[in-house]
Amino acid sequence: MAKHDIEVGLITSQDLPKLAEAGHVEAPAVGQGARELRQAVETALAETWSLMGVLDTGKKAADGGKKLVDTGLTDKGKDIEDKAIHKEKDARDEAHKKINEDKAKKKGKEASAALGSSAHAFASALSDLRA
């Protein structure tokens, strides 16, 4: 199977300072039903990945799907790839929209008093990933 070096991955320790500076993403609004909740979750996810500097989550998923096809692991790989490509565009659009909306909001916002706890939270995030 394919060999991947850590440097080409999505999440590295270099991402952590950006995360700590940005602080936590707020919990998504629960909405008036499961559909609204899921929409709020997707918005929150786009924000999370944009803070991570990872706007190509869908692209990575697409690559993963393609790899599944290439390696013959599953015949569902193509389907996953197609869906992920569409998702990639949606996620990127959503993330950009969110970033633009937040720019104005965050411009005058003072550094969060919770920055210390955020930094701690994200400092432990990478460790959690590899646990």
């Binding site: 199977m1 991955g9 993403v25 919990a27 998504p28 899921r38 869908g58 998923a61 692991l73 590899r130």
Partner: protein, 314 residues
């Protein structure tokens, strides 16, 4: 549908939710910060024979609710992400309800609170590991100085020092003399374990539903492959297929610990072996951060977990 509980900005929670979204799986998400405020859990436990009818209830939002009978499985990352959670009686009560739901839910749960408790004691895990047919390292746990000398003499090289509990630690190889010199009379060492360093390759095994086995080998010069940058090393992860007897031992181990998702750290003997008795198991992670391994080794762990949690209730 799958119930996911955890903070939305906790990376593994976000990764799994992203996977569910991308693959069109139906899910219900409860952010841990909402428990006891916007979200409550209503649970009713009925005496009687085991089965799906014993636990009834709902996940309640301010203006809507979802019955537990609509849920096919649960994925929990509660307690992660370093959140400063509300300590109101309501919030604490709901977190207790959530823990009860994880333990009592009749379908698949990754993972149940009680099943995760084995991670609190590595020596406890070793009993299950041995019963599953895998080896464990020679280990001294505790802080009895009088026993260290004899243990150290029997080792080949300096011992490994690591956490004996679920407290996270960076695994290190230490000079025995330096460790002893650092000890302060009257101040016993906090709980640690000392082990023989095992030669061989690090292999991480994720077992989903005690059946699907997804493994990768870590190629690195670092002692702790999870933190290679801490010692100036790099690591390469690539997927491998385990020998069938070793994969079966991992399934047995995961099942014995009651885990629907486990991350098993193995050392493959130099030259390889299909005998599980030749493979050393260092520990079983009961809340494995599979994102890193999925990204770097291409293992479809999220997909396997989603398929397992989305299966209809038996």
């Amino acid at each position: 549908m799958i119930l996911v509980m955890g903070p939305v900005d906790e990376l593994l929670t976000a990764f799994f939710l992203s996977h569910l979204t991308a693959t069109g799986r139906e899910y219900l998400f409860v952010d841990e910060r909402h428990l006891g405020a916007e979200v409550r859990l209503e649970l009713d436990w009925h005496p009687g024979p085991p089965g799906p009818g014993r636990l009834t209830g709902s996940v309640c939002f301010p203006t809507w609710r979802v019955g537990l009978e609509s849920l096919s499985g649960i994925y929990s990352r509660l307690g992660t992400g370093g959140l400063e959670l509300s300590q109101t009686p309501e919030a604490r009560a709901e977190r207790a309800h959530a823990a009860a739901l994880l333990d009592l839910f009749p379908g698949p749960v990754a993972n149940r609170m009680t099943a995760m408790m084995s991670n609190g004691s590595k020596p406890c895990q070793y009993a299950a590991i041995l019963a599953a047919g895998l080896r464990v390292p020679d280990t001294l746990a505790g802080a009895d100085w009088t026993r260290w000398e004899a243990f150290a003499r029997g080792l080949d090289g300096d011992p490994i020092i690591k956490s004996v509990s679920d407290e996270r630690s960076l695994v290190k190889q230490v000079s025995w003399q330096e460790t002893r010199a650092a000890a302060r009379p009257g101040h016993p060492l906090p709980p640690h374990q000392f082990q023989q360093r095992i030669p061989g390759a690090n292999v991480r095994v994720h077992v989903v539903g005690a059946s699907e086995v997804l493994a990768c080998r870590a190629e690195t010069q670092a002692l702790d492959y999870r933190h290679p940058d801490a010692t100036g090393h790099t690591v390469s992860l690539h997927a491998v297929t385990l020998p069938q007897p070793v994969a079966d031992a991992c399934r047995r181990l995961s099942r014995a610990l009651g885990l629907d998702l486990s991350g098993i750290d193995l050392i493959e003997p130099p030259g390889g072996s299909s005998d599980p008795g030749d493979w050393v198991c260092l520990e079983v992670n009961t809340s494995p951060g599979f994102m890193w391994f999925e990204q770097h080794a291409g293992l479809p762990i999220a997909g396997a977990l989603a398929a397992f949690l989305h299966a209809p209730l038996r």
